[in-house]
Structure formats: C-alpha cells, structure tokens
C-alpha cells in the first residue's frame, strides 16, 4: 500500500532501519490497538470462518465437524436433493421478481413523491415505516391477512364476493407471490428513499433542457434521469440483491417453507441441516453454494465499481 501516510510528518522508511521490527509494532501503537477488533473480525470471521466452511464442506461430517475428506460428495448429494433444488429455484424466482418490483415500485413512488406534493413527509413516513419492522413481524402480519378462512379471502367472501380467491399462502404454486407481497411491503419504502435521493441529485437544468426540447415527462424520466442515477441504481441493486440471498426470517415467519417444501429457500436449508438435521457437511456445502452465488453477483459489480485502480470506497 502506498498510502501508509503517517500523520504529523514522521518518516516512513520503516524497512531500512535496524529497529524495523520494533518500529513495525510500536509505531502508531494506539491506532493498531484500536484496530484490533477490525483485524480480528476480518482475519478470524470473514476470512477464517469462510475458509473453514469451504474446507469442511468437502468432508462427510455429521453431528460434529470431524468427518473425513470426501471430495465433492456433499455437493453431488446437494444437487440430487429435491428440497435444495426447489430452494434454489424459489430463490431465483423470488429474487428476480423481488428485484424488479422493488426497483420499479421504488422508482414510481419516488417520482410520485417528487412532484412537489402536499404532506410529502407524511407519505414518506407511511411508505418507510415497514422497513423499521422486523421480517418476523412482517411475516406474521401478512400470514394473518392472507389466512384463507378469516383473512382477506374470508372477509370478502363473507361480504358477498363468493368467488374471491386469495389463498396464495396455502397454494404451492402461488406461495412465492405471497412472499413477494410481504417482501415488497417491507422493502419498497427503502428503495423509494434511495431513488428519491437520486432524483433530487439530478440538476434542474437537465429538466429545463428536456422541457425546452419538448421531451415528454415520462420519456425524460426513463431516458435521461434514470441513466443519470446510475450510482444510486447500482447501490440499490447490490443492497436488494444481498438481502434476497439472505432471505430467511421472512420465510420462517410467513410460511415456514410450506405448504410442503414449496417456499423453501437456501438459507433455511443451510440452517436446518446445520442445527436440526445433524448433517453439518451438507449444510456447509449448501452455505458454500450461497457464498458462490454472492461472489458471482459481487465480482462483476466490484470490477465495474472499483476496477483498475482501487477507488475510494
């Protein structure tokens, strides 16, 4: 690193001195002591634990991580397990819908809010408050609303609309949409806040120029403003995406993976094999696959964002 810039103008030629080793430890000692938690977190948790997990995913560990090396056996078994495959496809389906709808709804809400409306802060407060609640609370409320007999479906049927059907939570083919409704309720307000910040960072001159050129408003939003918000969009995609991969609490609270295994997700698979299935090797293999997924998403982003010379994060 070139930036071992020492404050207060002290010399930096560490390695040429005879007391180099002592200086390496003692120089700037308080800062190094202060950084111990960070260094420990990085080395032990983020690097150490990850490598440990990857290594033991190649063993046949059952109740304790002591098994012997079995190569890719756990992975073969993983992809031969229907529950895992269902989990993966659920995550892909839910993830794609959630990402698209969160961005679209967030953008629409931000545009609506940005129209110099009255009660702006009231509307913003209403849209963002679900984000302050936990996924457990979110899941349980929607579980009650979607209760087929006493929830929305039952109510509307009682009120005379007998053909009304809203049994997504109990319907294996629709349960992902039930998750989606709850997930969007929780997260779109946050996306709106991001997008609103992006909209408001666009210079007024751009709008004036577009108006002068007679470009319709919707066109200006899509072809001019949206591309200018690239930074915000990338941020939003990364945050929403890493949230989707972690999807766990919401499923536990709303459906607990049901009906059957139709709303299982990878994070839940990992958890169940590690802590209640007594098959650690299998859980670790699944966790490693989750890591791989994140890396596949993250590496292109990191390359685009910080590619070449490391820009300031």
């Amino acid at each position: 690193m070139a930036d071992a810039a020492v404050p207060a103008g002290e010399a930096t030629g560490i390695s040429t001195r005879p007391s180099a080793l002592r200086k390496f430890f003692l120089h700037n000692l308080s800062a190094k002591v202060a950084a111990i938690p960070m260094v420990a977190t990085v080395l032990i948790v983020f690097i150490g634990c990850t490598i440990w997990t990857i290594y033991y995913s190649f063993t046949n560990s059952k109740l304790l991580p002591t098994g012997k090396f079995v190569g890719l056996d756990q992975y073969e078994r993983l992809f031969a397990t229907s529950r895992w495959n269902v989990s993966v496809w659920n995550l892909v389906g839910y993830g794609a819908m959630s990402l698209v709808f969160t961005l679209v709804v967030g953008f629409i809400l931000a545009i609506l809010i940005d129209q110099k409306i009255r009660f702006e802060s009231a509307f913003r407060t209403i849209m963002l408050y679900p984000f302050a609640l936990s996924f457990i609370v979110t899941g349980l409320v929607w579980q009650w609303i979607m209760n087929p007999t006493l929830g929305l479906q039952g109510t509307l049927r009682n009120l005379g609309w007998t053909g009304f059907t809203f049994d997504w939570i109990a319907n294996p083919r629709m349960v992902l949409f039930a998750l989606l409704i709850a997930g969007l309720w929780h997260g779109t307000g946050f996306c709106m806040v991001l997008m609103l910040a992006g909209l408001r960072s666009v210079d007024d001159e751009v709008w004036k120029a577009a108006r002068v050129d007679g470009i319709p408003t919707w066109r200006t939003y899509i072809s001019i403003v949206l591309p200018m918000m690239r930074g915000v969009l990338v941020t939003a995609v990364v945050i929403i995406g890493s949230g989707i991969v972690r999807l766990y609490d919401l499923v536990v609270a709303l459906t607990n993976g049901g009906p059957g295994i139709s709303s299982e997700v990878p994070a839940k698979y990992v958890f169940n094999y590690m802590f209640s299935g007594g098959n650690i090797g299998q859980g670790l293999a699944a966790a490693t696959m989750m890591l791989l997924t994140v890396l596949i998403i993250m590496i292109p982003w990191a390359y685009l964002e910080f590619g070449g010379k490391g820009k300031r994060i």
């Binding site: 404050p7 120089h27 950084a35 129209q115 509307f123 963002l128 609640l133």
Partner: protein, 310 residues
C-alpha cells in the same frame, strides 16, 4: 416550442405572457394530473397502512368477533385482554410466560450490543482516517466486502468459536456476534464522517501534543453527535429486529423477542388465538416503530447512510 435558442439557461420563460404578471401562474388544485397523482399516492398508502390497521384492530378484538370473519371491521368493544395475555401468559410449547421475558432479553441484548459495537466502530473509523498504518486500508476493504458474505457461511464456525470461549448460549455470545457483524457498516459510517471533518483540527491538536485517545475523546467525539444518532438508530432497530443470531447464539433462556414471538405464533398448540398473536406482533414492533417515529428524518438519514457504500 419554437424559440429554443433564446431560452437556454434563462429561468424567465414567460415572454409572451401579459406584461404585469410575475411569478408562476396560480394553478387550480384539482387538475386531472393532480387527482391522478394523489389517487396513486393514497392507493399505495393503503397498501402500506393496511397491515398496521389489521394488526391493531385484530389485537383489540375478542376471538368470537374474529371468527365472525371480517378483517376490515373495527373492534366492537376494544379491550386490551389480548395484549395482557400476549405479554404475560401466551404459551410457546409448555412454557407460558408470554412475551415479557423475550422483551427483557431483547433489552439486555440490544443495549450492550449497541454501545459496544458503536464504540468499537467509532474508534476504528477514527484510526482509519487519522492514524493510518500499513495495511489498514486493505483490512477495511476486506471488512466492507466481507459484509456481503451470507451469514450462513460463517455461522457454524462462529458457533464453535463461541463454544471454545465458553460463551455459547449466553448473552455475551449474541453481543459479540452483533458487534462483529455491525462493524462493517458502522465503521464505514464513522470513517466517512471523520474524513469529512477538517483535517486542520486534527493537525492542530497533534501539534499541541495530544495523543490518539485524547484527540478522540476531546475533539472527535464532541463533534460527531449527528453520526452517533444515525448509528444508534441503525443499531437499535437492527439488533432488535434480529432473528437469526438470537435463535442460534442466545440459548433458550435468552431468546430475544422476535424469536419468542415467532414461537408463540408459529409453534402454538391448540386453536390459534389471532388476537393474542397480533397483540404480540404489535408489542414486538413497538420498539423499532417508536424509534422510527421519534427519530423522523434521522431514520431516513440512517438508512440512506447505510446505503451510500456503493
């Protein structure tokens, strides 16, 4: 628009208006566009408000009223019986103590975790900005990228580490885990904040002979109240809402409120009492909601600050 050339950059567009008119033309409030706009806003607001309405009304109803099957109806005789039951005697399996132990566990987890994680991150951010040492930026970069690793990847080794430390299944373990996983975002927050402060302050204090801790406590801390508020909001809501770490590391005796809530609702035996369930749900949401409504703009700033890492 024909006269584009003359308009570039000039804000006063209305050349062809009547001479005396100044300022924008007063617009009627009920234009079709406005009506559509507010209809859309109200429509979306209903989506966001409906669950809150359902939660509150259901929690104030009696079970016969709920079985009648009208989720929209207001409670006929609002009463807090379900709230009392949710707090004191709702059952999770054989254990019928209600949510209150979970509430206190969450308090016992949230307060120390918040304090410890913020303090460590503040000192860390300060060291990263003003006292860089060889490799500090590398560690910071890994820290930020590490925050994207799914927790499930590190969960099992962390269980083993906390077991080795003899703290698995205790409050200390949860506090440690929250401190570790709160570190990336909080460090980023403080680092960016301290970097935005004028460097001259730090240099002047250095020249006057103040050291690492003295500058931190006497100069940096007093100036960083806004970022502390943001970090506080982020951590209190985040830790209160956590489920995964609580269920893995806390141990049955120390389950936080979210875990107990889920147990009360999803593993209850016998006929479900929806009013008690909803009362318990409201009670669990009350702390973060209070933080949200009290902090107002600060909350927005907090979530936005959490997002600027891009």
């Amino acid at each position: 628009m024909s006269q584009t050339a003359t308009m570039a950059g000039s804000p006063s567009v209305a050349h062809d208006d009547v001479v005396e008119a100044r300022g924008p033309r007063p617009k009627p409030f009920f234009t079709p566009k406005k009506i559509m706009l507010y209809t859309a806003l109200v429509f979306f607001s209903l989506y966001y408000l409906f669950p809150l309405y359902v939660m509150l009304t259901t929690s104030l109803k009696t079970m016969p009223e709920i079985r009648f099957g009208n989720i929209f109806a207001l409670p006929q005789a609002p009463n807090f019986d379900a709230w009392v039951k949710a707090w004191t005697s709702a059952c999770t399996g054989l254990n019928c103590q209600g949510l209150s132990p979970g509430f206190w566990n969450s308090v016992k987890i949230t307060i120390p975790s918040t304090i410890v994680s913020i303090f460590i991150a503040a000192v860390n951010g300060y060291a990263l900005v003003n006292w860089r040492f060889k490799g500090s930026e590398v560690f910071f970069a890994i820290l930020i990228f590490g925050s994207f690793i799914p927790y499930q990847v590190m969960l099992y080794p962390l269980v083993m580490i906390t077991r080795e430390l003899k703290i698995f299944g205790t409050l200390q373990a949860v506090i440690l885990i929250h401190t570790v996983f709160g570190m990336p975002i909080l460090t980023l927050l403080f680092r960016n904040y301290f970097a935005s402060l004028p460097q001259e302050l730090f240099k002047a204090a250095r020249v006057d002979g103040a050291g690492f801790w003295r500058i931190f406590f006497e100069i940096m801390l007093p100036m960083s109240l806004p970022i502390f508020v943001v970090a506080l909001i982020l951590q209190i809501t985040g830790i209160w809402n956590d489920f995964l770490f609580g269920v893995v590391f806390a141990g049955t005796q120390n389950y936080p409120m979210t875990v107990q809530l889920n147990n009360i609702v999803n593993s209850a035996q016998g006929t479900p009492e929806y009013n008690v369930n909803m009362a318990a749900t409201v009670l669990t949401g009350l702390v973060p909601l209070t933080v949200y409504f009290v902090s107002g703009k600060w909350f927005v700033r907090g979530v936005a600050a959490g997002a600027v890492k891009g």
